[in-house]
């Protein structure tokens, strides 16, 4: 038997691995960047900070709001020197809320609203309050609801009633960071494979290196297997690196079956490798390849619930969204991380992802242009 060092698969894998690790940028974008994103988003969504709302007042007559501001608000100035009335409501459970009211004319108020500097405009009709805001903007809705509730019972300062009914959940897996980390792992997997495999194939085709390689007795399947094996190993290392920091900083836990997690992770790698082979099967122009990669990645990045739940999308679209490979692998991995899922729950997505990847790879190989 010949030594393993002399085999095609070993040499192809080794060469590809060396090429990857000799690009310092690859290590940054693959390992450091996801950790930085998780730290940034994790801290942003887990720290209890004061919520601040900016409300513009365009009232022409004296209103009940003016009386309340006189009684409860403090006067200060913003950075432009304009006078503000700041009404602070303390709440130990939901966090503090701070309304800052600024007088304005209608035109300036609309400009501020368009720029996102304010969420709500308060006007009046013969001294009766009128609220102006985009009803489809959930943040504006929230400001309106909080403010109108406050107007009804200003003396409560918002905290005493809520404490009676709210019981904060302290279960593991309900924090935003618990939701985010599985998404970042699958998002990293998709990006790493789409750019790593597709781009490598297209670049080697454009450099005529693919043609030089197939002019030897190299088995074509060995070339593609080596790309996938090395990429999968790199993805495992990157995922472990991200998980380690998430555990260290945010005390993240995997509640479900580790074996099932590994299997669905592999299925995700197979699915994205198949797509990567398909989209890089013919072109030798890296610009065309970049276009295809973005066209495939972008919709999944937005729709598949990596950063935020896709259940906010319209009901009719959910069926389609759930069919996307990134959705399937993210949901599967997330269910193991935070719901304690096991083998039974991941069988269907694992089989679907593997079959999808194999079908894409087979079609891609039939079209594949080696030179």
């Amino acid at each position: 038997m010949k030594p393993i060092q002399n085999t095609q698969l070993y040499q192809l894998s080794k060469a590809y691995f060396l090429e990857i690790i000799r690009e310092p940028e690859v290590l940054f974008w693959g390992m450091i960047f996801p950790v930085l994103i998780s730290i940034g988003l994790g801290l942003a969504f887990t720290q209890s900070t004061d919520t601040k709302f900016h409300v513009l007042m365009v009232t022409e007559h004296h209103t009940e709001l003016d009386d309340m501001l006189t009684e409860y608000a403090k006067t200060s100035q913003n950075k432009n020197g304009n006078e503000l009335s700041v009404w602070k409501i303390t709440d130990d459970i939901l966090g503090n809320t701070e309304f800052s009211f600024e007088r304005s004319d209608w035109h300036s108020a609309i400009i501020s609203l368009k720029r996102g500097e304010a969420e709500l405009i308060v006007g009046d009709s013969l001294g009766e309050l009128r609220y102006h805001f985009d009803p489809h903007n959930s943040q504006a809705q929230l400001v309106y609801m909080k403010l109108s509730a406050l107007m009804k019972s200003p003396a409560t300062t918002g905290s005493s009633d809520s404490e009676a009914f709210i019981e904060p959940l302290t279960l593991k897996g309900v924090r935003y960071i618990d939701f985010l980390i599985p998404g970042l792992i699958t998002f990293g997997m998709m990006g790493s494979i789409m750019w790593g495999i597709s781009y490598t194939i297209i670049e080697r085709r454009s450099q005529k290196l693919l043609r030089r390689m197939v002019a030897t007795p190299m088995k074509k399947t060995n070339f593609l297997i080596a790309l996938m094996v090395v990429r999968t190993v790199m993805n495992i290392v990157e995922a472990l690196f991200l998980f380690f920091f998430a555990w260290l900083i945010f005390d993240i836990e995997i509640q479900g079956n580790i074996g099932a997690l590994f299997v669905i992770f592999l299925a995700g790698n197979i699915a994205f490798t198949g797509i990567a082979i398909l989209i890089s099967s013919r072109t030798s122009k890296t610009e065309v390849g970049s276009g295809w990669i973005n066209a495939v990645q972008m919709p999944m990045m937005i729709l598949s619930g990596v950063f935020f739940s896709y259940h906010n999308f319209p009901e009719w679209s959910l069926g389609v969204i759930k069919l996307l490979p990134l959705t399937a692998v993210t949901d599967g991995i997330r269910s193991i991380f935070i719901e304690g899922a096991g083998w039974v729950e991941i069988i269907t997505p694992t089989l679907a992802l593997t079959a999808f990847g194999l079908i894409c790879a087979i079609i891609g190989l039939r079209w594949f242009k080696w030179y």
């Binding site: 002399n6 040499q11 060469a15 060396l18 090429e19 005529k208 043609r211 002019a215 030897t216 007795p217």
Partner: protein, 246 residues
């Protein structure tokens, strides 16, 4: 048995006829130059002999075997250096050779031999991205020689090289010729390269063979060298670049 036999081969790309009815026969151990200006059809002809392109019609046999039925066998006995191949820049010379050696089930011993043969010992740990044009061509030749090929195809191996690097490459090829185990098919538009290295010269233009034979048989009182011969045959010099606008 003939080492290479080409029978009435045609090849066209869209509306361009690159090769038009070429036939030739190459003996074992012969060093053959395919000489012609850019666009003469040399590269297309060689790529068909290398099994990288299929002819539209005609037949190509290497040691009596065709590419369709015997591709795996033939890949093991040929070596080639293509125009414009760029090897991975972040691999060293040794790693690149080790990679290609793996395709032929060869180990370090053969890698050491070709590194010595092509004079790349001092550069073997350098990344390909740091090499000069001449060193890259020597690497391409080293890769082509890994499997001790019985048939070696070199497509314009010295184009763009300075005279010193070109001479270095010629010396390596002369060493190979002395050993006598390899048949070489070399495309070039440098007549001195063909004169200096090859026993048999095939002059091509516009997809056809204009003349072929040994150097002394091709030259006569009207044509004292290959450039003069080419002018007499076509009315243009070998270095003339074909114009794209009629």
């Amino acid at each position: 048995m003939l080492q290479i036999e080409v029978k009435d081969v045609y090849k066209s790309f869209k509306d361009v006829q690159a090769v038009r009815g070429v036939s030739l026969a190459i003996q074992p151990g012969e060093f053959v130059a395919l000489l012609g200006p850019n666009g003469a059809g040399k590269t297309t002809m060689v790529e068909m002999m290398e099994g990288l392109r299929k002819p539209d019609s005609g037949e190509i046999l290497i040691q009596g075997k065709n590419w369709k039925k015997h591709e795996r066998e033939l890949r093991k006995i040929i070596g080639l250096s293509l125009q414009e191949t760029r090897f991975a820049e972040k691999l060293s010379i040794r790693e690149t050779l080790r990679l290609f050696a793996g395709f032929f089930d060869l180990g370090n011993e053969r890698v050491n031999e070709v590194i010595a043969l092509t004079g790349l010992e001092s550069k073997q740990k350098s990344y390909v991205g740091t090499l000069s044009g001449g060193q890259r061509q020597r690497l391409a030749l080293a890769v082509a020689l890994l499997n001790t090929p019985q048939v070696l195809f070199l497509d314009e191996p010295t184009t763009g090289l300075d005279p010193h690097s070109r001479l270095d490459l010629w010396n390596i090829l002369r060493l190979l010729k002395e050993k006598g185990n390899t048949t070489l098919i070399l495309t070039t538009h440098y007549m001195e390269e063909a004169e200096s290295l090859c026993d048999h010269i095939i002059i091509m233009d516009e997809g056809k063979i204009l003349r072929e034979g040994k150097l002394e048989d091709l030259l006569d009182e009207e044509s004292h060298n290959l450039d003069e011969l080419f002018i007499n045959l076509t009315g243009k010099t070998l270095s003339e670049v074909p114009t794209l606008i009629p």
